[in-house]
């Protein structure tokens, strides 16, 4: 019953994302046999160091979705203050109100059933554009973002090229 309503909601969101895709984003189930595991491609926002890259990520939905948020993990190499080394994304919309690992998020921007996959992906795009260097998902990246932006941009460029199957810059 619970999974049934999760499935229906996911189907509806998939349809919505397919029919009206937000710019630079596509998302859908990896395999429709299992609707609880999705893949998303996110274009690095223009005017940022991630510009032009196509970053693949995996979304895993709980059986009680949309009551609980999905988990999101990049499946390409990432270097970003709010992304763990293993690719897991740390942003407030993916946290249910109540669990607040960082203790700084306001509950207004947390996960609730009125949020959606589309909103998560759009939040991730703005996270790529504007890292929050107070959240220490990747301390090295946060430090470099603060102190050595040039080096950070270089790494980002290498990652962008990697996602496009292009050789790293000389």
């Amino acid at each position: 019953m619970m999974a049934g309503s999760a499935l229906r909601r996911l189907m509806a969101e998939y349809k919505q994302l397919t029919v009206n895709p937000p710019e630079g984003i596509i998302a859908g189930p990896v395999n429709e046999e299992n609707f609880f595991e999705w893949e998303a491609l996110i274009t690095g926002p223009e005017g940022t160091c991630f510009e032009g890259g196509i970053f693949p990520a995996k979304l895993v939905f709980p059986p009680d979705y949309p009551l609980s948020p999905p988990k999101m993990q990049f499946i390409c190499e990432m270097f970003h203050p709010n992304i763990y080394a293993d690719g897991r994304v740390c942003i407030s919309i993916l946290h249910a109100p109540g669990d607040d690992p960082m203790g700084y998020e306001s509950s207004a921007e947390r996960w609730s059933p009125v949020q959606s996959v589309e909103k998560i992906l759009l939040s991730v795009v703005s996270m790529l554009a504007e890292p929050n260097d107070e959240s220490g998902a990747n301390v090295d990246a946060a430090k470099m973002w603060r102190e050595d932006r040039e080096q950070f941009n270089k790494i980002a460029e290498r990652l962008v090229r990697k996602t496009l199957g292009l050789p790293p810059p000389e």
Partner: protein
């Protein structure tokens, strides 16, 4: 069945099959009422002209009981050391019943003439100062009914705050009332708490008699409790004696629940709830309307998603106050489809894979052009 807040009041005076009894009794009732109205007028005049002496007051309250057909049974003994009695609230004439048998005085916010008030055994709460009361008539205990207003007796409401500090010894009283033969509800809720419910009183005149049972429970000592614990103990004692639940609702909540339109009181049908789980921004009313047409959760979801059924989206919860929030949401949303969502899972899968590949290829091409790379040989 679980007790809910809207079950604490009766909207109709009659419940069930007693309408027939009512019609049979009607002519008799009217004669009785006419007689009692005369009696009430005599009572009214007597209360004005007779001196305010205790013997006279006893006479007047007996007369008032006759007028309103109030018959009171008392069980248990009043504790002479208690100056405060606490009771549940049953009807507008609780005070009369208690004043007649226990010699108490009750506090009300009703604006009734003072002579009439003293006949009913009430005092205006606004003018009441406890100290003054005890210097004037030290023998008269005060009856408090902290529920604040009457219910149909199926549950005990939360107690109001006390208008003055309570003593260390309080006697709880459990009041019940029944109307033999007619079984008409003693109280119908109205919105004004500070006005004497004249309609309820009129029904008292009409019914042959209303039998009150006042059960005096053992007095409670405060011991080491603070106010709240002491009040909770009183409330529990009364609820136990009445064999009803001590509900978590206050009088405000009861009257608010009654004022709410019946649709809001009813839970949405399960099918509508399922649609809303999927489409949280579609208003429930629109979902219910569309479901009536389609009778299918899935068809209704499709209708909303594809813009076949228009709806006004529920505004999103405020995320962050941003200057751009002044933009009004569109009145009706009919998304203009830019992509195709195939009916077959296989085709969808194929097109998803294709789109992914296409997106990467296009991005790669753009990147190469922008940065003037020469990677043609690598492809």
């Amino acid at each position: 069945m679980a007790l809910t807040v809207d079950k604490l009041t009766n909207d109709e005076r009659f419940s069930g099959d007693n309408v027939l009894q009512f019609l049979l009794y009607l002519p008799l009732g009217l004669v009785l009422m006419a007689f009692r109205i005369v009696l009430a007028l005599i009572l009214w005049i007597a209360a004005i002209i007779l001196p305010n002496k205790s013997a006279v007051r006893q006479l007047l309250s007996t007369l008032a009981c006759w007028t309103f057909g109030v018959y009171v049974k008392v069980k248990g003994n009043k504790d002479p050391r208690c100056s405060v009695l606490v009771a549940n609230y049953v009807s507008c004439l609780d005070s009369l019943a208690a004043a007649h048998t226990l010699g108490t005085i009750s506090l009300r916010k009703w604006k009734v003439p003072p002579f009439f008030a003293s006949t009913l055994g009430i005092k205006n709460a606004a003018q009441f100062v406890r100290k003054q009361h005890f210097t004037e008539s030290p023998s008269k205990p005060v009856l408090l009914q902290p529920e604040g207003g009457p219910t149909n007796g199926k549950g005990l409401l939360k107690f109001n705050d006390w208008s003055f500090p309570i003593g260390n010894r309080v006697q709880p009283i459990a009041i019940t009332v029944e109307r033999p033969f007619t079984n008409v509800t003693v109280h119908r809720p109205n919105d004004k708490i500070d006005v004497f419910p004249w309609w309820d009183a009129l029904w008292f005149l009409w019914t042959p008699c209303s039998v009150y049972t006042l059960r005096a429970l053992p007095a409670l000592d405060r011991k080491d409790d603070n106010d709240q614990e002491f009040v909770d103990r009183m409330r529990q004692a009364i609820a136990d004696a009445l064999q009803v639940e001590a509900t978590p609702w206050s009088l405000c909540e009861v009257s608010r629940a009654r004022r709410a339109p019946p649709a809001a009181r009813r839970a949405p049908p399960p099918a509508a709830r399922r649609v809303q789980e999927v489409l949280p921004r579609v208003p429930l009313a629109d979902i219910v309307r569309d479901l009536e047409k389609t009778r299918s959760v899935d068809v209704t979801i499709t209708n909303f998603l594809e813009g076949i059924t228009p709806y006004t989206p529920i505004p999103e919860p405020a995320v962050e106050p941003q200057p751009s929030t002044s933009q009004a949401p569109p009145k009706y949303v009919s998304p203009a489809p830019t992509g195709v969502f195939s009916k077959s899972a296989k085709e969808r899968q194929m097109s998803f894979q294709e789109k992914k590949a296409q997106m990467i290829a296009e991005a790669r091409q753009r990147y190469i052009e922008k940065h003037g790379l020469n990677v043609a040989s690598k492809c």
